[in-house]
Subunit: 398 residues, 2 copies
């Protein structure tokens, strides 16, 4: 009888893995993934970067690097984040092995088994998995169309058995809810957390993927507002603006939190991949990133608009949804009590997949909603797959 650690029981079975292997099976139209389209990666730019590397740069790419990241990438990322208005001078950057690792490290820095933390409902499955792995108790707060429900947030903080260790949220083009936090809700959130000794984990991997130039001003991060009296821990990623296969993300956090996170990172994987870091650094410095992100923004918008059109034509009116203004995801609200797993079964039979609602419910219960993404399917696949999903919904909901 193997004597595993008690933490093991807090981790869920691999439903995501099973769905992902289905999602990438040949012949399946997948609205399930949160990955960029294979056809959209900047392969020519990466070729140009690789072939322009000096011998010395290639040696750096093959060698261990500092725990917090290669100096060159720290410098170029510093400029990149500074240009977004982020307070790089008064904080520290750490390069991580994907932004999930940044979230995991922050969770480890703050959470003792049994501690309480606050999360949105619905929320990003990867972060939930990291929080569960440290045996955190999750206090869930529902979302509205403009962000977290502030009265409920206040009430849940007040009624928590212990003061929560942090509040984890995602401000822009939310995964899976697809929404943008309004400036008003962000300001109310600051007021609620100020002086409370409850750090804010601000997870932002989609802000660059806005569809409308006029939204740019709405996409201000709380980290960029640099509010007094809150430790804001901001995490981001190269996964959506270069390629997830590089496994590179970052955190920008106050110095005293950074010091703890660096120790933790040393014990996890010593440093993030140097090979990836050399490429990402050149991608930032060359200016390829602005051109590339501009292009994929247009492509994701095209796919999103095709999907909106297709949903409007095919979905029954009792399905409620909002049109996202960027990012990857559309969140469908089904009639109360619907089991979206039944819909998924029917969709799979006809060669289409998506992700059921309960996957994103921190309590693992609410299943009368579902996430469909347009990031990894071209317009043709959207036009073919969405009617199948609409039909499956009708078969289950009537």
């Amino acid at each position: 009888m193997t004597r595993f650690a008690s933490t093991i029981q807090f981790l869920r079975s691999s439903e995501i893995r099973d769905l992902m292997s289905l999602a990438t099976a040949p012949g399946i139209i997948s609205f399930a993934g949160g990955m960029p389209g294979n056809d959209l990666f900047p392969l020519n730019e990466v070729d140009e970067i690789y072939n322009s590397l000096s011998v010395k740069e290639k040696q750096v790419a093959m060698q261990y690097g500092p725990t917090n990241g290669l100096p060159n990438l720290l410098e170029s990322l510093n400029e990149y984040l500074k240009a977004k208005g982020l307070p790089v001078e008064s904080n520290r950057i750490m390069i991580t092995t994907g932004s999930l690792q940044a979230i995991n490290i922050l969770a480890k820095a703050f959470v003792d088994p049994g501690d309480y933390i606050m999360v949105e409902n619905p929320s990003f499955i990867g972060a939930l998995s990291a929080f569960r792995s440290y045996q955190a108790n999750l206090i869930t707060v529902p979302m509205n169309a403009d962000g977290i429900d502030i009265p409920q947030l206040k009430e849940k903080i007040a009624s928590a058995p212990q003061k929560p260790k942090f509040f984890y949220y995602s401000p822009h083009f939310h995964n899976p809810a697809g929404i943008i936090y309004s400036q008003e809700i962000k300001e109310q959130l600051i007021e609620v957390l100020k002086g409370q000794d409850i750090p804010l984990l601000e997870d932002d991997v989609y802000s660059d993927l806005y569809f409308y130039e006029e939204d740019k001003d709405k996409l201000k991060l709380i980290k960029a507002m640099n509010p007094d009296g809150i430790d804001v821990c901001y995490t981001g990623s190269f996964s959506k603006i270069l390629g997830p296969g590089l496994r590179l993300g970052w955190m920008l956090v106050p110095e005293h939190i950074y010091q703890k996170c660096e120790l933790i990172k040393q014990s996890i994987d010593a440093c993030s991949p140097s090979f990836s870091q050399v490429i990402a650094d050149k991608f930032l410095r060359s200016g390829f990133i602005e051109k590339y992100v501009g292009e994929v923004r247009l492509e994701y918008k095209k796919r999103a608009l095709a999907m909106f059109d297709c949903l409007e034509k095919n979905l029954p009116s009792y399905v409620k949804w909002n049109k996202p203004r960027g990012g990857f995801y559309i969140w469908l609200q089904l009639p109360q009590g619907t089991d979206s797993t039944e819909i998924l079964k029917k969709a799979i039979e006809k060669g289409t997949v998506f992700v059921t609602g309960k996957t994103f419910d921190p309590d693992g219960k609410r299943n009368d909603c579902m996430r469909i993404s347009y990031c990894n399917t071209d317009v043709e696949a959207i036009n073919k797959g969405i009617p199948i999903i609409a039909q499956a919904i009708k078969e289950v909901c009537g």
Copy 2:
């Protein structure tokens, strides 16, 4: 007052980081690192691999992959490990972000705060850091020239306050002790652990770097012996046989342990870098690996022999050391009670660094020993740096 998790106090301050930044400072001769020489990386082979990738392979390199690794690399690594006599059929492979991550994941799978685990003294600092990060109590067992001290191992298992969760060891060209476990000690170790429900973590990253063909038969892993009645968890790495900058390692473990580890890996970084995995797969399949490892074996041997020669000529006779027959490290035993930190200070003044003994002592105490490595210095640097170290030893020890 930030409310960090209690685990934080179990992690040591960044002495390794400080030493490493010194070790890579310009003008310093460094015998401190455990990294391959920058001049030894197979850059031409990696160029050839990169430039032969198809568009589809490059897309795979930029995309998320399965948590346990890309199917192609799992297949080629399976063949590579099978050829070493490892029981790949009855176990599962997982690709990890360096072998340190494999060790970290196994620690998380087994250790609850306050649990006891057993380690060699001296031991690999990265593993110790991973174990501490889960608040393990470390029971240390001293090493002899042919491996762990078996009577003390038995006694410490018997007298442990709780049954230890596992025993962590490194069989070949030990870091830092430089020794090879004898077949006899391996067999005794199997007898001690058999039926005890104490898994064996077998960490092996240097076996391929033997200097003498006649030693090949002595380098049999306990995992390859596949003993009944012990869960052997074997970990390995591409860091020493391709390049640490790729951050790729692996574990080969029984299925029931694999299942837990995959859940943990999902919560840490979702998957290891695909870009690196595509390159490592081609490196295995092309046969480049045999040619490359053959070449670096000769080069490390050349450096080691130069260092032996230089140590024999310069070291006072009261310094005891064994000539390693492979790997990266020489372990010097200084007169009892010597403080190697004093020697380090004098060596640094003259532009040479190494690592002090207490860094590798799980109890952080014994400092009358030191590690010098020859992996990242050419013969010229060895001939210049070793006399400086010998002089520093004489100045401190008389």
